[in-house]
Every structure is written in C-alpha cells, then in structure tokens.
Symmetry: C2
Subunit: 336 residues, 2 copies
Amino acid sequence: MNPTIKDVAKRANVSIATVSRVLNNLGGYSENTREKVMQVIRETGYRPNAVARGLINKRTRTIGVLFPRVSSFFSSGILQGIEEYAHIHDYSIMICNTGGDGNRTLKVLELLQEKQVDGVIFCSSALKTEYVEIMAGMRVPVVLVSSESSYANIPFVRIDNYTAAFEAVEYLIGKGHRNIAMIGGRQEDQLAGVPRLEGYLGALRKHHIPVDERRIIYGDFRYESGYKGFEALLESARDMTAIFAASDEMALGALSAAYKHGIRVPDDISVIGFDGLELSRMAVPPLTTVRQPLVEMGSLAFELILEMIETGEIPEQANIVHHSIVERDSVRTVED
Amino acid sequence: MNPTIKDVAKRANVSIATVSRVLNNLGGYSENTREKVMQVIRETGYRPNAVARGLINKRTRTIGVLFPRVSSFFSSGILQGIEEYAHIHDYSIMICNTGGDGNRTLKVLELLQEKQVDGVIFCSSALKTEYVEIMAGMRVPVVLVSSESSYANIPFVRIDNYTAAFEAVEYLIGKGHRNIAMIGGRQEDQLAGVPRLEGYLGALRKHHIPVDERRIIYGDFRYESGYKGFEALLESARDMTAIFAASDEMALGALSAAYKHGIRVPDDISVIGFDGLELSRMAVPPLTTVRQPLVEMGSLAFELILEMIETGEIPEQANIVHHSIVERDSVRTVED
DNA sequence: TTGAAAGCGCTAACAT
DNA sequence: ATGTTAGCGCTTTCAA
C-alpha cells in the first residue's frame, strides 16, 4: 500500500489535520512542524489521493472531452490545444469517442457524470436535444467546439463558416476563376455543411456568376468522398477550372484523383481546401486552404470552461475565432 | 445537488445498503424492493458517484495514457485502439502529453498516481530509469507501446523494427533497386532509429550491396526532416534509384521535395515509407509503406493492462505484432 | 499552533 | 431480505 496521510501524520508525530494544512499551504503551523512533515513526505514518497480529495472537494480537476473520432486529423489539433492548457492549469482530461453515435454519446456523458468531471468540452458534433438534457442534469459547465447551440445558452467556439467559405471562393474568383466547382460536406450538416455551401453560393452570386447544380457534389468531409467527388465532377463539370473542397481531407482526395487521371494541379485545375490541417502542408502540391486555428480553438475552449468552473458564471456565448487563407501551391491564376 | 444513494434510500424507504445491493446486482433483496429502488432511481436520475466508489474499491476504472505528442499522426492510431477497447470494458482513459520531456513525464506520472489510475500505457518513448522508478512506486500495471524495456519486466507491444526495415529494403531490392538510400530516424533513438537502420544495413549486406555512407541521412521522423533529407541525398547520392524512409512523415517530405525539384516518383526515384499511417494512403502518389498495426497495438496494450489489473499477473513480456508491406504506387520496378 | 471529529458517497462485514 | 455500522483518505469546522 502506498502511504496515506495517516502514515505521514504518525511518522511526523502530528495529527492528520496538520499534515493536511501543510499540504495545502493553509498556514497555522510552525516552520518546525512544516519541515518535519515535508521531511516525512519526502522519505515516504507520499502523494495525496486525488480521489479522496475529489470526494470531499467535489472537484476532480478533470474535464471530459468528446470527439466523434479522437483519431481524426481534425480532432488532433483541438485536442492538442485543450491538453496544453489543461496541463498548465493542472487539469487532466478524459477523452471519449462518440463515434458520432447518439447512444454512445449519451452513455459516455453518463459515464463522465459518474466520474464527476468538472466540465465537458464537446467537439464537432451537432448538439441534440437529448444531449442538452443530460448535460443539464450533470450540472457541470459545457463548452462546444466547432459546433453550436441556439436553444441552450452553451458557449461555443468556432470560426464563421459562411464567411470563411465565402472568402475561399472569392479568393478563387480573384485569381480569375469563373467555373468553380464545390465538393461540399453533408447536406444535413448544419454546422459545417450548410454554411460552407451557402458561402460558396453567396460568393458566386456576389460576383454574378451563375450557379450550376452540376458543379456541386456532396461528400462527407472524408478523403474518399473527395476522391469520388472529383471523379464525379469530371463527368458533370468538365469545364471547371477550380474546386472548393469543404475539407482538407476531401481536397486531398481530389488531389489524388486528379493525379490518377493525369490532371495537373494547379495547371489544369486549382484546388482550395478547408481546415488548415497539418497534412495540407504535406500535400503534393502543397494545398492552399482556409485555416481554422484548431489548436487555439482548443485552448480557448479550455479557458472558457475553466472560467465557468471557477467563477460559476457563463461567459460570452459566441466565440468566433479568426480563419485565414493559407496560400500555397494548389491554386493558379487564370488569365482571361 | 445531484441525488446521492442516501436520497434514493430515503425515497424508496430502504437502507442505503439495499440500494447499493441492487445497484451492484448483489442479490439479497426481493423483486419488490428492486423494482421500487429502480423506480426511484429513474425518477431522480440518480447516478452513482464513481469517485466515492473509487475511494473504497481502490479502482477507478481509469487508465492513464502517455504520448510524446497526442496529436501526432502516429499517436492517433494507437489512441484509437486503446479507446475502443477501453470503452468496451467501461474504462475511461486520461491522456497526457509528455512532450518527450523528462520532467514533464515525471510530473504527469505523479499526477496520474494521485488520480489513482488503475494502470498506465506508455507510448513511443524510451523508458528512462527515473520513469521506471516512479512507475514502480505507483504500484500499478504499466504497458509499453512501440517501446521496450530490457531492465524491467514491463510488457511491451511493438513490431520487429529490424525485420520490418530489413524487409522494406529487401522489397526494394526485389524490385531491382541497388542504389538504395535511407532517410533514417535519430541515431540516438534505440527504439526505432537504430533497428531500422540496422535492418537497412542488414538487407544490403545480405544481397552483397556495398554500404555507402553518403546514401544515409538522419532525420527526426518528422516531415521537414524528410524534405531536407531528400534534398541532401540529391547532393550526396545522385545515383540513387530508391529511398527507404524510416517514417511515413519523412517519406511524405521526400515526396514533396521530389515534386519541388521536378523529380517524379516513382519514375525517377522510388520511395518506401514506414508506419502505415492513414495519410500514406492519401499521398500523391499513394505511398508504399511498411505498416504497423497501430490500432491493434493500442487494443492489445489495453487488453494486456486489463489482464494485469484483473489478475495481478504479469503477462508475456514481449508482444511482437505483425508488420506488413502495403504496396501502393511509390515504388517501381527497375530493369537491369 | 495543534488536534479531535464529522462527513464527502459509497461498499462490505456483520447483525437481525 | 434488510438494516447498521465501520471505514476508504481526505478537508474542515470547532475546541483547546
């Protein structure tokens, strides 16, 4: 057995109350006893039991983090940001996969409640009513990342997807492109699918470019769908000179498909991605993309939840962070 | 306040012991009381407090997972495997970044000890003596992934790096290549750096191909070092027809550098990577690589630790899993 | 400056 | 079949 506070108290000839005091720097003891206690702690290698502490303090210094898929390229950046700040503030994080599955999400949420996490960060999934209900029941702060909730006053941090997509397409237009296709996300996806499509549409309208349905393909944000999307566009929109992909993964799929079909990027077709994942930089050719500051989004989410935990107050609900266009080599200028 | 077992007991007109019994399916109550208790639990939305349970059971059903960088492409696969199995067995995982930093690792280990995790999975870092000492002090099972320990009987799961590298190079040789360069990992890295280099050397020797120091460049497993490594090789080993990169990230760097320099892969130079990351499949051209079953390695690690937690016994120490060569499009056959 | 004791929410041994 | 009670390791009154 590892030593407990009792063992330390005994060996130091003091009461456990005194040990607790020096442990928590509460004062109310002589320098002498402090020394003695610290000495024993060092000798025995005593470490306070956070579980016991948690039981009495009702604080575990642990937060739960939910991802649809922890191992996705997208999750990684956010996770890194959360972890970094959590570590600074001596918090631990419990991560959970929801698999984008409602039942599993509920189960995971219940588990986190049982484990008494001090807060939960919920990432890149739509917030269903059932989630909100159980979250309310948990009575712990919740922050959304790359998600949003209109009907509950839950703070969220995300970029402005509409504007970001709008600017991506306007960037293409600025490069002289007129025949711009889009590989979008899921049409049902209100968080990233719809607004990015709207942004595309909006930019075209603003520049009086007619919308052509055949130039729009819907994927699921993943690589394969980008690959297939590109091939589909090859059929339906042969004259396109540029593609706006609603995710970097899909853009990479497009790049691969182009390579497969002997189509050169950006010489024959330009491609702009979305997300600014690390791998966009590693693509061939390096991918021009709309960057979301994923790491910062994670850090900010942690700061928000920390604030809620410590003050009990609900901060500004809408935390819109800045996107930016990262120019690399997958888009070329088209001469008229 | 959320309801406690006391509240449930009171409302159900039974003792807390009875509530505890039905909660844990221990028997010793009538169907009638069971019904009543369950009814109250449903009504109140009661959830047992895992912290209190942990205090008494000395089990938290939580394991700690350490990565040098949780957000790396490499960690992701392992993490996914661990999480999957942890979830099946109703365990939670606490993930920690060590940043490859000794002090931080020690701090994190201490934190995990305080939080009373039931075990720790330590991934892809060399195991220093200090770690082993503090781990021994924690008195919880430890499993290593993509790492190893000779001086402590800690179970580990990894592939056979030497053989895997050997086979990669032999694969290249089988394709007719003789002038094979290598972009290796860090020379000090005993886990992945040295054995993969040795494998390269061994394969050349076996096939009576003289080793040429100028064909060997050392990187750090990351993308940039692969990029630079490729450029360095362009200077020192112009006649190479193939490159064995000790990581997929470095292989991707090489691919990018080749593209930049107008060198076609695999027409001019073939490239084989190592790891089998998801992104190797997304590369242009799709990367031929040596696959480590990362997800399975994570699952296996979890199973091992679960076994240790539940039985208290130490399983087979060496768990060598199978690697395999994934043939894609970055290696071509050379005619003599 | 220090200690005794209550109690956080739960399990488990012991009664009944 | 059910209740009482003693802790698990700690923090925090309240006394001394």
